[in-house]
Chain length 337, copies 4
């Protein structure tokens, strides 16, 4: 019998999940992290700075600043809550721009990654559709643009399988010609835990890296490649079947630990040697079992159609509020479709 | 610690899955079943007759005739294979009509259950859109209809949350007025095992029962209610998160049993007491753990958009071939959209 | 040369257009009509009662009450204006219900006629999607429904070419089973003049008649057929090419009459004998010229996709406001999608 | 009264229409044109070379080579005919590439202009979706690409109002980075005559010029701008209301001329001084009358949804056939969606 598992990595694009995993693995807080958590009206905001190379390696996430907005209630399609999340997003995003040193009025190019025709991957293109663009007015008649607006453009570069060109090349071509000061890239992500799917927004100043998001990218969208800062906004909309299983196993472990007061050996008796594996080893095991059957599927909640529209709207409204002083909670709805 | 689980039922709309579960539970073939399996070109056809009350109770499925067409390759979006599946479906469906005593040329009403706007639930309405309807020609000028066609009509009654009326009432009203000889109801289903999602079609002469399919129905579509025979065609397009976990646990158990040659206790050592629970007990446990967190989500594969179009087309083409002599493999493509 | 035209009828589903035509033809106000016009904030409301058989024949419209809401600004996609139109619609519709003697709290079935997949014909199904339905709550637990709501259900019966069944038969079957007190049927219409396309809503207590609307109906939806009052709500979303031409010719005639002060013969010199034809004769001529070429097309403005969504939302919101006391301008947006 | 009209230009993107207009205006064949017409199976192909500056000025079209494929039957949604048109398109397109000197195996970038969300403007993006792209295979593993394929990529750059960036800039950025040898730009056009809407495909080696197509472009896609040859493929999907009227007036004139044997003055008696205006003057008059009322709308046939899907498929299949030897009539359907 073989339990000598390779070190499978738990697939997550969320820094908060990576941090949790690292803490479990190393048995306590990881040094070199700066974290601040705030919660109000069902909206939990975590600001995590990874400022230390060692911490970055441990967590498996790039050096940088990460904001996570978690709103379990987002799944219930409550339009009032959505408005609150837009406002909270806008506030965080504005502060984030200052924190990472983006100049007031910096020209922005919003990049909506992903595929129109695959609902859980359509987040980026949908945000592009709903965001207020102004660059053409600045180009055509700069002195006639009302105050309170900045220069914003937006593109959905398509996916490699449809275009034959990597998103990153398309974007680089556009950046070369339109010279924005900042890229904001929107992408659908994969989460490790099912409960974060469709309820979490992550903002990070690390750009987009190969292998992140749902689609496969061979090159990223980063300041190194593009020459301008690149902020990534992501929402997990899918989960691997294997991570669901792993995640549930973890929940069961905690459940039995609680029920048995972590009494010596009880949980192990119920769940077996599995309890002694690290999360990564366990995930490797699940994958080993699933893949011969060809079904480590990527799955998404049944209600994805409506959710993706809602969250795209939340993000587009939040960006409109954060980027243009002239947009405020009273008129924001008239700027999206 | 509490392992005294209520008898949770494993949620599946597929007779072949229920049968497997029953066989595992009762340790061997269930008496009172008549099963015939055939496999060709990657298409596996199972004809299962439940003719005995006791068997029906054991399996938890109605007395009746069930055909299951399993095509793992359907996920690869191969248009040649899709044509073969249409043809195989048409052949089985034609034979099924004879077997259950439907008269040649019986007037058919096709009912597409489900919700347009929820992709994994849109199978029924999409089939309705693509099926060849002829009833209006028969009504208008019966003697001008070319030979080789029968009278077919098709409706998508909508879902309770959108219409405020149960599908079954809408259909009953239409049946009262249009007097078909046979109802064919198309519905998206939930499967127990992830590998059957989007790869399996079930045909059964039992109609639609409350609680089957994705949407919630309080009344069914059955011969008792409608006064005419009702054949249900279903495709599993979703899975509960809990059944994925349960299903994987099962796979792991088999995996370790194989690896260890079922050597005394080895698998149990690895997987713990979980191995001694019945499938239903285990599922109950998983649900117990998941539900407090509110995420026994119903999930669907990420590629559902394209899949649902493909399978709706396979079924619509299959029905067109089976119901009208004048439709044949050479012209069938011109009848769907 | 042949000017001996059959009496072609000018194709319009709008009573206000029929009335205008009749006035032109008969040279002055048509007796037996009761008309009231009101205009505010760019919204013009015309209440026309046809109470006299002779007037009905002259106008070519059924005896009944007609409300026309004309809002030229609707084409500019201004969301504030849309809200105002919803409110105006709701107010008129509520008053209309009282006027024609519908009891407070009457149970309503909303019928969305037309075809999902033909954008200018999708008005009805889109309204059904966005209207608040409550009937299932009343059925399930009548004493738990909050006050301020009435029993509303909604169906989109599909079109003959897709279902093989006339909408009217589908609706009749549903009416037989669900026993509403009132039918409200929503349909896309054809207008005579291009400027009314997508800017006008008509409410009438005459039901739907064969040949009205965009699709072809052989049977209507009327109180005679259904046994309950039937109010039709229509929006012109298309125009015949021939009526565009005819309409422009009319505009030119007026234009030259104005420019020349209707000086003897000037307009005729410019536009020829065409000026001496009645509108119907002229239309006949245009059709005679167009039809051999097979292109008396039905056309719709290029922007129809966005418009149809907007106007469906206006009507659904208006109905929600008018039918449920508990819905008010502050919460109405949360009831549509 | 004022008939002193400015010289309005008749809005058409089709060279065959411009040529017809020029011939009418100048009373006979325009010198400096080379035209070849061929008709088979309801498909009319016109190859027009404008090789002479004077001719170019008279017609108001750029020097270049134009192919027009006219298929009145395309409106009837006959899938056999569509296949024939794809094949004819592929044959013409292949010959066109040779004629204008494009090297065998030239690397192609297909550009789908227009707006996803405006049905009559969605032609370009839909073709991009359905065309076979291969560039990523050549980039990744050039020696593993089967023979019979060339390097093709495809992008839909979006429209100015959605992106804030001109299509031409987006494309130029992509061309700079991906270095194709040839651009093929697909665009929806405006026709002068209603009968050409949705029935005509134009291929021209002149690129895309500002003001052509449905959307407004301030910069074009031409060899001068992009540095590589640019072939434009266009299909008229809309018409101005004013050109419909003008077009019908023209038909009426011909109709009466025929009926009266062009007998002195008869047509003029019927149609007045309008007959003495040039087409452009008449169009000016119609616009003068229409515009104050704000309704020189751009219209499209009611059936545009289905048509646009069909024609996008015809063009994508035609391009797949023409660009890759390995694609042939037997397998072409498997390459589009």
């Amino acid at each position: 019998m073989n339990l000598d598992l390779r070190n499978y990595s738990v697939r997550t694009d969320l820094a908060v999940e990576s941090k949790e995993l690292a803490e479990t693995a190393y048995g306590g807080p990881v040094p070199g992290l700066n974290e601040q958590v705030e919660e109000q009206d069902g909206i939990k905001i975590t600001r995590l700075d990874i400022t230390d190379e060692a911490a970055s390696r441990r967590i498996g996430k790039m050096l940088g600043h990460y904001i996570t907005i978690e709103v379990p209630g987002l799944r219930s399609q409550d339009s009032d809550l959505q408005e609150k999340v837009s406002a909270a997003f806008a506030k965080e995003f504005g502060a984030f721009l200052s924190k990472i040193g983006i100049a007031e009025g910096a020209k922005v190019l919003i990049v909506g990654l992903g595929n129109w025709n695959v609902t859980p991957d359509a987040l980026g293109p949908l945000v592009v559709e709903n965001v207020l663009v102004t660059r053409h007015f600045f180009e055509l008649a700069p002195d006639q643009v009302s105050p309170g607006y900045r220069e914003v453009s937006a593109v959905a570069p398509g996916v490699l399988g449809v275009t034959g060109i990597e998103s990153s090349e398309v974007v680089q071509g556009i950046v070369d010609r339109t010279k924005p000061d900042l890229i904001i890239a929107i992408d659908a992500l994969a989460a490790r835990s099912l409960e974060r799917v469709n309820t979490t927004v992550q903002i990070a100043d690390i750009g987009i890296h190969p292998g992140s998001g749902i689609g496969n990218k061979r090159r990223g969208l980063t300041q190194e490649i593009l020459g301008v800062p690149c902020i990534a906004i992501g929402v997990p909309t899918v989960c691997y079947a294997s991570t669901i299983v792993n995640n549930v196993f973890d929940l069961m472990k905690r459940h039995f630990d609680e029920e048995t007061g972590q009494e010596q050996g009880q949980t192990k008796q119920i769940l077996g040697l599995m309890t002694e594996l690290s999360e990564n080893e366990r995930l490797g095991l699940v994958k080993e079992v699933l893949q011969p059957l060809g079904h480590d599927l990527i799955v998404t909640p049944k209600e994805i159609d409506e959710f993706i529209e809602d969250i795209a709207n939340v993000i587009a409204s939040g960006l409109n509020l954060a980027l243009h002083e002239a947009v405020n909670p009273d008129n924001v709805a008239t700027y999206t479709h």
